[in-house]
Subunit: 226 residues, 2 copies
Amino acid sequence: MSDVRQRILVPGKMNQRVLDRLPDHFDPVFIAATDPALVTAELSSSVAGIAVQGKIPAEFVDVFPKLEIIANFGVGYDGVDAVHAAERGVMVTNTPDVLTEEVADTAIGLLLNTVRCFPVAEQWLRQGRWVKEGAFVLTPLTLRGRTVGLYGLGRIGLAIAKRLEAFGVSIAYHTRTPREGLAYTYYPTLKSMAEAVDTIIVIVPGTESTRRTVNAEVLQALGPQG
Amino acid sequence: MSDVRQRILVPGKMNQRVLDRLPDHFDPVFIAATDPALVTAELSSSVAGIAVQGKIPAEFVDVFPKLEIIANFGVGYDGVDAVHAAERGVMVTNTPDVLTEEVADTAIGLLLNTVRCFPVAEQWLRQGRWVKEGAFVLTPLTLRGRTVGLYGLGRIGLAIAKRLEAFGVSIAYHTRTPREGLAYTYYPTLKSMAEAVDTIIVIVPGTESTRRTVNAEVLQALGPQG
């Protein structure tokens, strides 16, 4: 192994764990933002990699002729112009899957909290009302007999579905094409699914093709109890 | 069927749904509490059943020579002196299982909320801090890599375990005797389980035999991260 450490640029904010470990393997350089005006000629000609937690536009990629990699700290890399980087032969990496299970846990937590009002019950307790007025009332809503429609069924969608099964909830889904080998009910349109279920969980990426798809018509189809 | 409706006594508070439906089938009489002094001679000799959401001590059972049934609105009937009632030939009923799934949902909700701080995050949002200070931080704790010990594994314990499995959590349990056909790790003592797990969920009845079993020694064994 060479003793010369590769020069890695960190523009703007970066997770502390990355900052702690970068000097072990690399020669890190820090600038405040992805602004070409902050890049000296010496930096421009020496940077081999960029570690980023945010955006890297095409014009910033072009500042570094020796750039080999953009290491994106995050699952989503929509902030990096990956097409342009690929054309330049620059590799773009992300951190897929690290948050799949956490996001699924969060979806179930939000569903339980919404249906069963646990945070409201906690406030009731903390405000001393349990002692003065008695137990928090049983909530009118429940997961029992509920049908949940998943809008999107990628890795996170499947992790949510697995959890929902254990709660005895009926599961439906809508994606562009049905997935094989699944026991869940498929709906070819979001509206037809909304008509059939009580609850919709949205786990599609926020892109132009999904923009405004959960519209008034879909919410209307979900119904007043939805 | 006879036109004479059985006389049912309702002492103290009762769920509204019961109050709504009782007159459809019975002749209900209401008194404020389970106090023999509130019972007239006519009432004493005519009551065939008691519908209760609370306590029925032995001495109150003895006030009604024609009593046939004590219908207890609730899963637990520890408030009713069932042994004495049985000796008198009085049936005692309860409503088992109706809340098993709800209690299991609640246990998972409390676990998620404790580990992932969702109610705190909700307050952060409602107080406008999301807009001013940015996203609520990722919590240091997670369900990943967590081992949960179930103290008690009856109907509710099994319903909780089923849900925990879907979250990918390792499951251990402590009961007086191991249950056959389960993949969960059995611990013959609460303390040995506490040493092996991060989290304990208690789902045993609150009786003399379980009183003060989760003591300082067990909490010590659970450890500072437990």
